[in-house]
Amino acid sequence: MNLSRVHDAVQGWRYKAMADEKPIIELKGLGKVFQNKDNTVKALEDINLTINRGEIFGIIGLSGAGKSTLVRCINFLERPTSGKVYFDGVDLGTVGEKELLKVRRSMGMIFQQFNLLMQRTALQNICFPMEIAGIPKKEAVKRATQLLETVELSDKAKAYPAQLSGGQKQRIAIARALATNPKVLLCDEATSALDPTTTRSILSLLKEINVELGITVIVITHEMSVIEEICNRVAIIDQSRIAEIGEVEEVFVRPKSDIAKRLVFSGETHIETFVGESKCRIIFDGRTSFEPVIANMVLECKTPVNILFADTKDIDGKAFGQMIIQLPEDEAGKKRIFYYLESNHISYEEVK
């Protein structure tokens, strides 16, 4: 018997995900052009993306970058004008209209504006996709009741969307998206209409869903904090193309593209006002966490530095982010600092 199958039975989806090497979603040379009477708009160009089973994948970009179109190409709400979309190994471009409706049932979707049916109660909203899929009512109600428990809103079964808060609406929307046991959950700016506390609770719910149900989650957002909070990997979309793609940590620590730098160091524009004198950017990549880096450096080098800008975050006890310090005037002091940083394997670069 295949070993992976044994694992599968015993240890659930994680091993299945590892054994099954076929990615859940693959985009190859994807492009989307909107044709108007008088102009053509290239919304997406040559997008190549592989999303693995069980991961939380982030797609970030400024508004108008094309990320919403991209997510709609994944479930073929928008038909790409070029390239291919593979879902679970199937080329969606070759699938018939009726089959496509079935494929969509294995991809749940949630939205910024929740998009609940206003004339239905919470429970009826969750039953809705099951009605569409032709699941018997009794069974649907049973599952919907369970899902209400999952999203911790059992007491709101009979409430109408108008009686719920934003966060509660999004929880109902999540429960609804999960109703047909999807393999993928597409989140289109799902937290953008929510306050920070609610955002956090929704994100942790998404993470829980990912871990416990093994559903691949694709998060579209314009907020780096969302990516940072839950994503494993991230693709940065800029001007209809993928500017950068990689592990979240990697992109955070060493953003390569301009757009990535802009998104990660959103406060950086300020430093341009510090004129003259040499500066140095120190990068915290999660390695040097419990160590007072700057203080030690000052003590060791016996040279004072001026912290001009700092944006560091603590993720799981690791420090991420960057700091910009003003270097001493004398060359010797400067050299001592560089030497200290190098010998302690701290990433840095000189900034003009």
Binding site: L101, R104, L117, Q119, R120, P129, A133, L186
Partner: protein
């Protein structure tokens, strides 16, 4: 002058009016709802765009709507005769009322359905809902309060149209108002019929408003 015959006649007039208005509203809705749905669904931003079909129905609706009712009333008389054998009486008026009201109702239905949030439709599409499912399970139920409001407007408008039926001997209250009040200068008969019409309009509007409020779950 308030003879028993007159009172009986007004009573009959009320019944005839209600018969004309409600029967033609019913038939006009049977025609108007599918046409309204078709106009929304086949729109270029609709869920099943079909520009040609949309244009054809749009033009038909506009054509019928631009003919003044009093003209339509007379113009369709050959058709009415062919259909029911006569051009006078309440049933004959139902034919022309229906022809006039159906396109109007189609537009009312269209505007109600267009109020449904595009995002909700998209959500249904993302769940794999077919066009038919979206119409039956999203568009119509979500637009229900607006459709009811529209129905109250439609029925009162049809009641207004039916007033013109008096000129062609269509029966009902307006017929009485014109024959007695206008041709015979019996002002009080005219006033009574008008008062009754006012009451009918009020009742219809009130039912519509209350029903809308009761059915709309957006107001908590």
């Amino acid at each position: 002058m308030w003879t028993e015959t007159l009172i009986k006649m007004i009573g009959k007039g009320i019944l005839e009016t209600l018969y004309m208005v409600f029967l033609s509203s019913l038939i006009a809705y049977i025609i108007g709802i599918p046409v309204g749905i078709l106009l929304v669904v086949t729109d270029k931003d609709g869920i099943a765009p079909h520009i040609i079909l949309n244009k054809i129905f749009g033009v038909i609706v506009n054509l019928l709507r631009s003919v003044p009712f009093i003209i339509l009333l007379i113009a369709v008389s050959p058709f009415t005769r062919a259909l029911i054998g006569t051009t006078i009486g309440p049933t004959a008026v139902v034919v022309s009322l229906t022809i006039a009201a159906a396109p109007y109702i189609a537009r009312l239905v269209e505007s109600s359905l267009k109020e449904v949030d595009q995002g909700v439709i998209e959500a249904a599409q993302s769940m794999g809902a077919s066009t038919k499912q979206i119409i039956l399970k999203v568009l119509l139920p979500e637009a229900k309060p607006s459709l009811i409001t529209g129905a109250a407007i439609a029925v009162t408008t049809i009641l207004g149209y039916s007033a013109m039926s008096g000129f062609v001997g269509g029966g009902g209250l307006p017929d009485i108002a014109i024959r007695y009040g206008y041709y015979r200068y019996e002002t009080d008969v005219m006033l009574v019929t008008v008062a009754i019409l006012v009451v009918i309009v009020q009742v219809i509007q009130e039912i519509g408003t209350r029903w809308t409020r009761k059915s709309d779950k957006r107001i908590s």
